[in-house]
């Protein structure tokens, strides 16, 4: 009979009306991120969706208006993938996911992070192309995507990123030519090594995705 009692508890849980949680969109976005990640060392343990906002979660930093400005998850032994919801962190300045084991494509929605200063995703297993939408990251200064499995060409749209100071895509599987316009005029060759890139772009002669 204990059997049936357990069942009735189970059923009543199933049928009970779950109360709505206090939450905000940034917290939801981070919680969605957590659900996609595998976190064997519990770096994300404090990410409790029941809390009002994510500002007291570890490795999340907010500004005085409780908007998430930094995500410090470098070297955190996490794997899994990223999802489009990360693009909802409109106030994010630092996205630090370096030296983990995250795979899959880089979501194009990251291009919505208008305030992003630094995107460090180096040392993961990201694949697919560098999203063209990154051209919308007008505040971006640091973009380090080195040591992944990215393929395709370097989007020409990135040459419009005036603030971009550090760009590193070395050790990927990129192809085509290296842009030379805008900030790309000053990036050292080390930023491009160990790809299938064909050297600097020769304007007007070869399409930039030549060899892709």
């Amino acid at each position: 009979m204990a059997h049936l009692y357990l069942l009735s508890v189970f059923l009543s849980l199933l049928l009970s009306i779950s109360p709505s949680l206090s939450s905000n969109s940034e917290g939801n976005a981070l919680h969605a991120l957590r659900s996609r990640l595998v976190d064997p060392t519990n770096a994300l343990q404090s990410w409790d969706p029941a809390l009002v906002n994510p500002c007291t979660w570890f490795h999340v930093v907010c500004d005085s208006n409780s908007h998430v400005t930094r995500l410090d998850l470098g070297n955190s032994n996490i794997s899994g993938t990223l999802g489009p919801e990360l693009g909802q962190l409109k106030h994010l300045k630092y996205l630090e996911l370096y030296r983990n084991d995250i795979g899959g494509k880089i979501p194009k929605e990251l291009g919505n992070l208008k305030n992003l200063v630094s995107m460090d995703m180096y040392g993961n297993k990201f694949e697919g192309e560098i999203p063209k939408s990154f051209a919308k990251l007008k505040s971006l200064i640091f973009l380090r995507l080195n040591n992944n499995k990215l393929s395709g060409s370097i989007p020409r749209e990135l040459t419009t990123l005036k603030e971009l100071k550090v760009f590193d895509v070395s050790n990927n599987d990129l192809c085509g030519t290296i842009p030379v316009d805008g900030p790309f005029s000053s990036f050292p060759m080390e930023s491009f090594v160990n790809n299938r890139l064909n050297g600097p772009e020769l304007k007007g002669l070869v399409p930039y995705d030549f060899g892709c």
């Binding site: 109360p19 709505s20 009002v52 570890f58 490795h59 070297n75 460090d120 100071k165």
Partner: protein, 901 residues
């Protein structure tokens, strides 16, 4: 010999003959004796069995719970259901009951195994052992009960495989083995064509759909729910079992589509297939099963439309399609199902507006359309007709417009969930008519305006969630009318004013959350005093002042106590240290005073504590070391004194320790080196002395280390260089001496800051620092560093700010990379430093071989303007000297403009 043999034989014969009539007589007596004997073994026998008496053995047929066959005068039926019998059947002697047709002991507490001797009841046609505590396996001897028509072993603890020998019971029409722990037999040995009722509900069956069932053509009731059956539902079920009225296959692992042949089950009244892995479309033919009353298909993977043919099901009372992937609109035909009382379409991808035809569903009592993409207004016409509703749930959709005042007509409502929609306007005062309402959730609905005074007429309310809206005004004293209230969540609105005194009288309150409003004044001083179950007290981000009610935690049930970012003053409630359930305490950013040394005791469940930015005094109690679940301990920005207790090193879960900006003295305890989970350590702005403990380097997860503004001495431990995750390191404003260790160049995660300024560091800046290619801010100013700035530093491509000033650096500035546009301010007071930066002296051209190569044109190009400038400067200086007397009173300010800092 022969004669005596004959005599014996004759005697034996007589004896035998005399036994025959005797046997019938003594059989009734044996039965009576067997019953009494068994009764006496029971540990609890009910009053009705007192009529079973040894002194009354001959009146067996008058005993309670026993019926006799009128001709044989022996027991034909034993009916012992629901008599609270406790015991076993182990000593029930079944053998004498040769005429027994019915044995019913349903709903008692009979335990032990089912005795195999039960197989001797050869005339039994009705056996009900259900709702008892039988365990072990089903005895195969049951298969000897060949007359059996009704067999129920429902709700016991029977285990093992179902004996295939049951198949040799040709007459069984009703077989209920539900709610046991039974396992698969070899179904191929089964054949029970007489079955009309079959239940294997809640067992541990794992096979595919048992094939024999599709040959039970007389089945009207089939329940296989709550097992782990797999595979598809066989097509033969639809074609063969046309008499089925009830089909329950729920909570299994059935997969594949639902066949359009389902319509061949033309007598079906109840179709329950929920909690499986069924996919594909819901067949349109379902509308042909005209007797359907209950359709439960929730928690599957059905896609596509809700078939409009459902509108033909005139007898439909319950339709539950929740938690599928249906992506149509709601068909207007659904409005024809006028007998519907329960309609649940929640958690699909349904879109569009609510068809007005649904207004005909006037018998609806439960309606759940939540978690869809439904939109449009909630029409007053619809609402007005749903007057029987007890539960209305449309949360998590895109409904808009006003909440119609007609909602006040739904006077039977107990649950009203409208949360997370984009309504406008305010809460209609008519809501006060919903006297039965127990759960009201309008959170996140964009509603504004004040709380209607009628809200406080809802005296049955248990949950009131109005958070994340634009509600303004005050909470009136009438809130105290809500005597049943357990949850009051008004967070993130624009409510203002003081909390009324009456709120303290809501004794049932367990959860009060008012954060992020504009409340002011003090919280009623007796809040909590009469709330023994208060678990959550959340008042953060308001302008509350005065003291926290001293008896807030007197119920000792408090789990979360968060009052951060207010103007609270005074000391903390003394009951806090006895609230062993506490998990989260936030008092930061208030003006609390008082001594915290003993404010918290050993709180084993505590996870998060923030006391930052108050005026607490006292010391850090060693008891914190016993709060084993603590992950966050922040006390920065107070006036806490004394030493850091080494006991803090005993917190295995601690991730953030922030004790900065206090009056802490003594040394940094080496024990902190055991905090293996720590990623954030801030001990800045204290009066700590001694060296940086070398064993802190076992803190391999450290990302943030701030020891600045103390009185630390000794060298920078070279072991710091092993912090692979360190992204911010501040050791500035101490008395550290010696070299900058080479190993700091290995901190390849260093990103935000490396500040070693204002110490007594000496020696050279090593080339290795140039490897910190992600570092953005570097400050080594105000030390005694000497030698050249290594050219390798020019490859620190991420540097946005650096300061080398006030050292003893010499030689030329590197000219490449980050030094290209160097500002003099970063290098001042390094007498030996030279370079192109404005304000630095030009480097002497020491390299003669190079200088000889300098093109004459360049030389002229440099010398001429320099000489020219010198001439102009001299003239300017002379002029200035002449005018000095006039501007002397302004001297200081012009200086400060030039040397702006």
């Amino acid at each position: 010999m022969a004669a005596s043999q004959k005599l014996y034989a004759a005697l034996f014969h007589v004896l035998l003959l005399s036994l025959f009539p005797l046997k019938a007589k003594s059989s009734a007596r044996t039965q009576a004796e067997a019953l009494v004997q068994w009764r006496d073994t029971l540990s609890s026998s009910p009053p009705p069995l007192t009529s079973w008496s040894r002194s009354d053995l001959h009146n067996l047929c008058r005993w309670s719970a026993v019926s006799c066959n009128p001709t044989s005068r022996t027991v034909s039926r034993i009916n012992l259901y629901s008599l609270s019998i406790t015991g076993t059947l182990a000593r029930f002697n079944f053998t004498p009951f040769t005429d027994l047709t019915r044995f019913d002991i349903q709903n008692n507490s009979v335990s032990g195994t089912i005795p195999s001797a039960i197989g001797s009841l050869s005339k039994l046609n009705y056996l009900d052992l259900s709702v008892n505590l039988f365990e072990g396996s089903i005895p195969v001897q049951i298969s000897r009960l060949t007359e059996l028509q009704y067999l129920s072993l429902y709700n016991n603890s029977l285990s093992g495989a179902i004996p295939f020998q049951l198949a040799s019971l040709p007459k069984v029409r009703h077989l209920d083995l539900g709610a046991n722990y039974l396992e698969n037999p070899d179904w191929s040995k089964f054949s029970m064509p007489s079955l009309e009722y079959l239940s294997f509900f809640l067992n541990e069956l794992t096979s595919e759909f048992p094939g024999f069932i599709t040959n039970c053509r007389n089945l009207t009731f089939l329940d296989l729910s709550l097992n782990n059956f797999t595979g598809q539902i066989p097509e033969l079920l639809y074609t063969n079992l046309g008499k089925l009225e009830t089909l329950i296959l729920s909570t299994n692992l059935f997969q594949g589509p639902l066949s359009p042949n389902i319509s061949k089950l033309s007598n079906l009244k109840n179709l329950s297939l929920q909690n499986n892995l069924l996919s594909g479309q819901i067949p349109e033919s379902i509308g042909l099963i005209s007797d359907l009353q209950i359709v439960e298909l929730f928690t599957n993977s059905f896609q596509g439309n809700i078939p409009s043919s459902i509108g033909q099901l005139k007898h439909l009372e319950k339709l539950d399609l929740r938690m599928n992937a249906l992506n149509s609109t709601i068909p207007p035909e659904l409005g024809h199902c006028t007998n519907l009382s329960y309609l649940a379409l929640a958690d699909n991808q349904l879109s569009g507006e609510l068809p007005l035809s649904l207004s005909s569903l006037s018998k609806l009592t439960d309606m759940d359309l939540s978690e869809n993409y439904l939109t449009g207004k909630i029409s007053p016409t619809l609402i007005s007709n749903w007057t029987e509703l007890t539960s209305l749930q449309v949360q998590n959709n895109f409904f808009y417009g006003y909440i119609p005042p007609e909602i006040g007509k739904l006077t039977r409502l107990q649950y009203l969930f409208l949360y997370n929609n984009t309504f406008s306007g305010s809460i209609p005062p008519e809501i006060g008519n919903l006297k039965e309402l127990s759960n009201l959730d309008l959170s996140g609905t964009h509603i504004s305006g004040p709380l209607p005074p009628t809200l406080w007429d809802l005296t049955n309310l248990q949950i009131l969630n109005l958070f994340r809206n634009n509600i303004n005004g005050k909470i009136p004293p009438q809130v105290g009318n809500l005597k049943m209230l357990k949850t009051l969540d008004l967070n993130t609105n624009q409510l203002h004013g003081e909390l009324p005194q009456t709120i303290s009288n809501i004794t049932s309150l367990t959860y009060i959350s008012l954060f992020s409003n504009n409340f002011s004044g003090s919280i009623p001083s007796d809040l909590g005093k009469y709330m023994p179950s208060l678990k959550y007290a959340i008042f953060s981000n308001n302008s509350f002042s005065g003291e926290v009610p001293p008896e807030l935690c007197s119920g000792l049930s408090l789990q979360q106590f968060t009052v951060n970012s207010n103007n609270f003053t005074g000391s903390l409630p003394t009951c806090l240290k006895n609230c062993l359930e506490l998990t989260r305490v936030r008092l930061d950013e208030n003006r609390f005073t008082g001594n915290i040394t003993d404010a918290f005791g050993v709180l084993p469940n505590l996870v998060y504590v923030a006391l930052s930015d108050n005026q607490f005094i006292g010391e850090i109690s060693p008891d914190w070391g016993e709060c084993k679940n603590l992950t966050n301990l922040m006390m920065d920005g107070n006036r806490i004194s004394g030493e850091i207790p080494p006991e803090l090193g005993k917190l295995p879960e601690l991730q953030r320790l922030s004790l900065g900006s206090n009056d802490l003295t003594g040394r940094i305890p080496a024990a902190l080196g055991s905090l293996s989970m720590l990623f954030h350590l801030d001990l800045s702005n204290n009066h700590l002395i001694g060296e940086v403990p070398r064993n802190l380097t076992s803190l391999q997860g450290l990302q943030y280390l701030d020891l600045s503004n103390n009185k630390l001495t000794g060298n920078i431990p070279k072991e710091l260089g092993s912090y692979e995750k360190l992204s911010r390191l501040d050791l500035s404003h101490n008395n550290l001496s010696g070299d900058i260790p080479f190993e700091l160049g290995n901190l390849n995660s260093l990103q935000y800051l490396l500040d070693l300024s204002s110490n007594s560091l000496s020696g050279a800046i090593l080339q290795n620092l140039g490897k910190l290619s992600q570092l953005e801010i570097l400050n080594v100013s105000h030390n005694h560093l000497s030698g050249r700035i290594p050219a390798s530093l020019s490859s620190m491509v991420s540097l946005s700010s650096y300061d080398f000033s006030y050292n003893e650096l010499t030689g030329p500035l590197p000219t490449e990379g980050v030094f290209q546009n160097a500002s003099a301010r970063s290098f001042v007071e390094n007498p030996g430093l030279c370079g192109k930066a404005e304000g630095l002296s030009q480097c002497p051209t020491t390299d003669s071989s190079k200088s000889s190569k300098v093109n004459k044109k360049v030389l002229i190009g440099v010398v001429v303007p320099v000489c020219g400038l010198l001439v102009i400067a001299t003239i300017f200086a002379v002029l200035l000297c002449f005018r000095k007397i006039k501007i002397v009173t302004n001297g200081e300010s012009s200086n400060s403009v030039i040397w702006e800092r």
